[in-house]
């Protein structure tokens, strides 16, 4: 890893990371509070049969239990959009953006192997993902404390949940960086990564709302974010293994493709 590149990447993303982290912390904070305030009412509405039962478990999360609320805070579109600022936005533009601007050759004219350049940006991507996931979960813990429901919070399972979430968003970041290392322009790298995430998310949500589409869920990476199961003490380690395998695939792709690419003069 190159310390100068890593440090500069953090400096460049610092304000954005602070803003996204603040938003995620607030979002994480709100879910336990909403659960504490309205969970029983929502449960009553659901049990009345007005709403289909599927609405109670969007992407594996719900609003009737604290673990469900924490899980919902991770899989909700707001959380996905906010975390995607880095897992998609940063990773997909990290190399392709430098290439498009023409600054990649200024950086690579230095004694940095392309593998080191990539690995440094990968480390930066994962560090951003780690920060965003950490503040989101920390917000949830703070919200639970604020709402006075800490007793229902299985804190001991949080490290596993943290790891599971980092593996999911890390897998997305690894795919984004693999795309970024493969294209000369931002648009295709971002388009491929964003398309990948949207399709994955659509499959997961469609499967959770429509039983007939449930068989499609295993094709979605989001399906392997098992937040509620982890918090209820029933983690599926194979899921973590699968997410890790996706990360490895993305990393191997980039490490094979990027150092071998011919970087012609920017047009």
């Amino acid at each position: 890893m190159n310390r100068a590149l890593f440090g500069q990447t953090w400096r460049a993303q610092g304000i954005k990371l602070a803003l996204v982290s603040a938003a995620l912390a607030i979002w994480g904070f709100l879910m336990p509070v909403i659960y504490a305030q309205f969970g029983s009412q929502f449960r009553a509405i659901l049990e009345s049969g007005i709403l289909p039962a599927q609405f109670a478990k969007l992407g594996g999360g719900d609003i009737f239990t604290l673990p469900g609320a924490i899980a919902l805070s991770l899989i909700h579109p707001i959380a996905i959009i906010l975390t995607s600022v880095f897992s998609v936005g940063f990773s997909a533009t990290a190399i392709a953006g430098e290439r498009q601007r023409g600054t990649l050759e200024v950086a690579l004219a230095r004694p940095i192997a392309r593998q080191i350049f990539y690995r440094t940006l990968l480390a930066a991507s994962f560090s951003f993902v780690a920060v965003t996931v950490t503040v989101l979960l920390a917000g949830g813990i703070a919200g639970a404390a604020f709402a006075g429901v800490t007793g229902e919070l299985p804190i001991r399972h949080f490290p596993l949940l943290w790891l599971n979430a980092i593996l999911l968003f890390g897998a997305i970041a690894a795919m984004g960086l693999a795309a970024s290392s493969s294209f000369d322009r931002v648009a295709p790298a971002l388009g491929v990564t964003l398309g990948f995430v949207i399709v994955m998310y659509f499959l997961e949500i469609l499967g959770s709302l429509w039983p007939a589409a449930a068989p499609l869920q295993p094709y979605s990476l989001f399906h392997y974010l098992r937040a509620k199961a982890i918090l209820l003490g029933t983690p599926v380690f194979l899921d973590d293994g699968l997410l890790a395998a996706v990360i490895v695939a993305g990393v191997v792709w980039a490490l094979v493709v990027f150092p071998r690419r011919d970087l012609a003069a920017p047009s």
Binding site: L5, R101, G102, I112, R260, D262, L263, P266
Partner: protein, 284 residues
């Protein structure tokens, strides 16, 4: 899209301590050659070495000893000039020991360096480009169109920097379209076209080889220049004789001796014409 053949049979050697000019029209392969040397491109055939190191296998070790100014350099616009130079220096892993000296000579003040790069003029960006390439005192500087955007005063300051580097034994590989500056600063020149090396020679030798334009007015019969060694494109009418003379001037001067010459102009050799002649020759 059919594959593009970029560069082909270039064969080039640059000696340590010389300023080497690399000339060619757009698309000749200058940038391709430079990008091969720095590892941006991978050769499909052939080999290359800098400092005796293989350009593919030892690319990182080579770049540790090289300073590079890309043509039309792109910079990180959101940084200040100072921060940019710091950052690129950190990436180089070598202290920017000569930054202050080059900033001073290129009149880049501390106040200017504290401004954001996005606010810089074209000339200031080019100065930053030159400084980032030379601030760590590289053994070899590869400069692609280095005076692009510099005003004449700064061009002169830059030539002085090159003179200093040459005096210190540094090697400069210099790609340019501005032939007058190549003539001004380079020891040797390579001319390439469509990936082929047309010639490599010292600037004086290139100039000596080129044809000179001769224009004379005579009051009597024109001198007999047919068949004189080195003379070509001869025209004589209405007391005016024009021709081109290549190489040794003595046969020509002997042939015009005794002629009633009223006026005689022999245009000085410029590299630009030599350059064009080489291209014309290559086209033929």
């Amino acid at each position: 899209m059919p594959p593009i053949r970029a560069l082909e049979s270039l064969d080039l050697a640059v000696a340590e301590g010389e300023i080497f000019g690399f000339l060619g029209p757009n698309g000749a392969g200058k940038s391709t050659a430079i990008r091969l040397l720095l590892g941006f491109l991978h050769p499909t055939a052939g080999t290359g070495a800098l400092f005796g190191l293989d350009i593919v296998r030892d690319s990182v070790a080579i770049r540790r000893r090289v300073g590079y100014l890309p043509g039309g350099i792109a910079l990180y616009d959101s940084m200040t000039g100072e921060r940019l130079l710091d950052y690129l220096g950190e990436l180089s892993g070598r202290r920017p020991v000569r930054r202050a000296e080059w900033c001073d000579r290129l009149e880049l003040s501390s106040a200017t360096l504290r401004r954001l790069v996005r606010d810089y003029s074209r000339g200031m960006r080019q100065k930053i480009g030159i400084i980032q390439a030379l601030q760590h005192d590289p053994e070899l500087a590869i400069l692609d169109e280095p005076t692009e955007g510099l005003d004449p005063l700064m061009q002169r300051a830059f030539y002085d920097i090159l003179d200093s580097l040459k005096a210190e034994g540094r090697t400069i590989f210099f790609s340019s379209h501005v032939l007058s500056e190549v003539e001004r600063v380079c020891d040797r020149v390579a001319i390439i076209r469509r990936g082929q090396l047309i010639t490599t020679d010292t600037v004086p030798a290139l100039l000596a080889r080129r044809k000179r334009n001769v224009d004379m007015r005579v009051s009597g019969p024109p001198p007999r220049l047919e068949g004189v060694p080195g003379v070509s494109s001869l025209t004589a009418a209405d007391g005016r004789v024009t021709c081109r003379v290549e190489g040794d001037m003595r046969p020509f001067l002997a042939a015009i001796e005794g002629a009633a010459i009223i006026d005689l102009t022999i245009q000085p050799a410029h590299l630009e014409e030599a350059f064009l002649e080489f291209y014309e020759g290559a086209d033929a």
